[in-house]
């Protein structure tokens, strides 16, 4: 390439160190026996015990995981339909508007979407709680799911499906039995992306929830505002562990199914 190798190495090293520094700090100090960040009080798992015995945190985690699972599933289903519409049905009235609505949430400040959804639910008279958070999360993760699925669908060779249809297969069945199996890695990553985004969201959840339904980020946020507690390090490390496990599993799944696809082709 055009620049000396040491420069590339250094910029990669610097960038990754910057990205991982807070994460390493978080994980290391979740095992700290002392309450103070700067003092190392020996290795201890006491903060994990505190987290697991905190009913409020456990309750928040339950709400978060339920909301994330339901909205990720809904977003992946809707996203699949949206991706089919955008990639396969090239011309229809209102295509530009649909495209705009699918892309806008990616760049829209969260607080804008949060305000508008709150006002929507209030106007419709829907009681705010886990249901409204789920509807809001489905909407804002839908666009991310669609982008992932769209880019996969564009790469798929339509001639395989056309062959199935020439042999008398109806279009919907041709899609389900030919295209869908090839979309599995994209479906998995769309679901995981939606799940993680939902699990992480603070702003939209805070606006669209009612009394009694607090998600994990909302609980963490109020704890942070209340004062820095080492408990958060332990919660964060647990979440991080789940996410990394899920990511590695997804990588393995997609690699294996890609190998199967290329072996079959």
């Amino acid at each position: 390439m055009t620049k000396p190798r040491w420069f590339n190495r250094l910029s990669i090293l610097f960038g990754l160190a910057f990205l991982y520094l807070p994460i390493v700090v978080l994980v290391v100090y979740s095992f700290n026996g002392s309450k103070l960040v700067t003092v190392w009080g020996g290795f201890s798992t006491q903060w994990y015990a505190t987290v697991l015995n905190n009913p409020s945190i456990i309750e928040g985690a339950k709400v978060s995981f339920l909301v994330a699972a339901v909205s990720a599933t809904a977003a992946t289903l809707l996203g699949t339909l949206a991706a089919i519409v955008m990639v396969r049905l090239r011309r229809f009235r209102g295509r530009a508007l649909l495209n705009g609505m699918l892309l806008a949430p990616m760049v829209m400040p969260e607080v804008v979407m949060a305000v508008s959804m709150l006002l929507m639910f209030v106007t419709l008279g829907i009681d705010r709680g886990p249901l409204t958070i789920t509807l809001a999360h489905t909407t804002f993760t839908l666009c991310f799911a669609t982008v992932v699925l769209q880019s996969r669908l564009v790469e798929l060779d339509p001639s395989l499906e056309e062959a199935a249809r020439d042999l008398g297969c109806p279009p919907a069945k041709a899609f389900v039995s030919v295209a869908l199996p090839n979309m599995i890695p994209a479906l998995v990553s769309a679901w995981l992306l939606s799940f993680t985004l939902s699990l992480d969201d603070l702003v939209i959840s805070s606006f669209t929830t009612g009394p009694g339904a607090s998600t994990l980020p909302m609980k963490i946020y109020s704890q942070i505002k209340f004062g820095v507690t080492p408990e958060i390090n332990a919660i964060s490390t647990i979440i991080l562990g789940i996410v990394v496990f899920g990511l590695v599993a997804a990588q393995l799944v997609s690699r294996r199914s890609e190998q199967r696809v290329s072996a079959a082709a």
């Binding site: 055009t2 620049k3 420069f7 590339n8 910029s11 990669i12 960038g15 990754l16 910057f18 990205l19 991982y20 807070p22 700090v25 978080l26 100090y29 960040v37 700067t38 339909l81 519409v85 090239r90 229809f92 209102g94 495209n99 705009g100 609505m101 699918l102 892309l103 806008a104 760049v107 829209m108 400040p109 969260e110 607080v111 804008v112 979407m113 305000v115 508008s116 959804m117 006002l119 929507m120 106007t123 489905t138 909407t139 056309e162 279009p171 919907a172 699990l199 992480d200 603070l202 702003v203 980020p217 946020y221 942070i224 820095v228 958060i232 964060s236 979440i239 991080l240 996410v243 990394v244």
Partner: protein, 302 residues
């Protein structure tokens, strides 16, 4: 294209097609577009006690339909110094942090793009992993690094670079660190994807024609990566303007960003019409970059 080989579409297929289009359309109209119209409507309403905390825009008075539009919120937003300052601060912080991110992200993306294909995918994976973990807790981690009695100050004191702890947390510097850190992957990935798909032979040709390494970079590589740079800037700049979590946790009381102002208006002052007006003005400020970004996106998709 996919339908060309099939026989003329039957009425049933047409109906199915319409249904297919209708489902995502209906969802987004009800839960994405209509809510914005509502925000606009409520921004013209008057605050009141109770639930919902705003007066309806229309009133049926015997036989007369009254429409009452209250423009006071907008007049207030546009003339009040605190809001004006909050908008300007948000734009300034977004602009400076976007520029700072570019300085870190470009060399990183360039470095990754010039690696071997196998280590490339590993490095991209490593860039994405932090994005998958909770942003709130990563910001929290910066709090414990930047505090007066935090890790950074402890380290600097130990090497003797400073004799008194620096005050970083609750300043604008902390906001910049937090934003650059959190949004970095959004800048790296689009730049990386344009750099890695750029045609290498063009650079080789420039070198063969006597271009120095540096001028080959500026005259060939950099222009080729501009679409990625622009996409990265848009992906970062627009959401950062409305950022709430980072200024709230890392910034001080004297640095007010607009996202936080909206939050406070909603939850502390309970003035929903005012919050809606502040939101509409924010949206108006962002319409230009959003429309630009969208037209680029649809052009790229053809």
């Amino acid at each position: 294209m996919a339908h060309s080989s099939a026989a003329a579409p039957s009425a049933k297929a047409n109906w199915g097609k319409r249904l297919l289009i209708a489902i995502p359309y209906a969802w987004l109209l009800v839960l994405f577009l209509a809510p914005f119209a509502l925000v606009a409507g409520i921004s013209l309403s008057t605050v009141r006690l109770g639930m919902p905390p705003f007066e309806p825009l229309t009133a049926w008075d015997g036989s007369i339909l009254n429409l009452r539009l209250n423009f006071e919120n907008f007049l207030y937003v546009l003339t009040d110094d605190t809001y004006l300052l909050a908008y300007l601060t948000s734009l300034k912080i977004a602009a400076i942090s976007t520029a700072a991110m570019l300085f870190i992200a470009y060399p990183l993306a360039y470095g990754i793009a010039s690696c071997s294909p196998s280590s490339r995918s590993l490095l991209v994976f490593l860039v994405i992993v932090p994005f998958w973990s909770s942003m709130l807790i990563r910001v929290y981690s910066w709090m414990s690094i930047l505090r007066n009695d935090g890790l950074l100050n402890a380290l600097l004191l130990k090497i003797g670079l400073i004799s008194e702890p620096l005050r970083i947390l609750n300043t604008e510097t902390a906001i910049y660190i937090g934003i650059v850190y959190t949004y970095l992957p959004f800048m790296v990935l689009p730049i990386y994807s344009t750099l890695s798909s750029a045609d290498r032979t063009l650079i080789e040709a420039a070198r063969d024609l006597g271009c120095s390494r540096i001028s080959a970079f500026w005259r060939v590589t950099f222009p080729l990566s501009l679409p990625g740079v622009l996409a990265g800037c848009a992906l970062v700049f627009i959401p950062v303007v409305g950022e709430f979590v980072i200024p709230d946790l890392l910034g001080g009381a004297d640095t007010q960003m607009i996202g936080r102002a909206i939050w406070l208006e909603f939850f502390n002052n309970r003035d929903w019409p005012m919050a809606a007006a502040v939101t509409i003005v924010l949206l108006a400020l962002l319409v230009v970059p959003i429309v630009y970004f969208q037209s680029r996106q649809s052009r790229e998709q053809g």
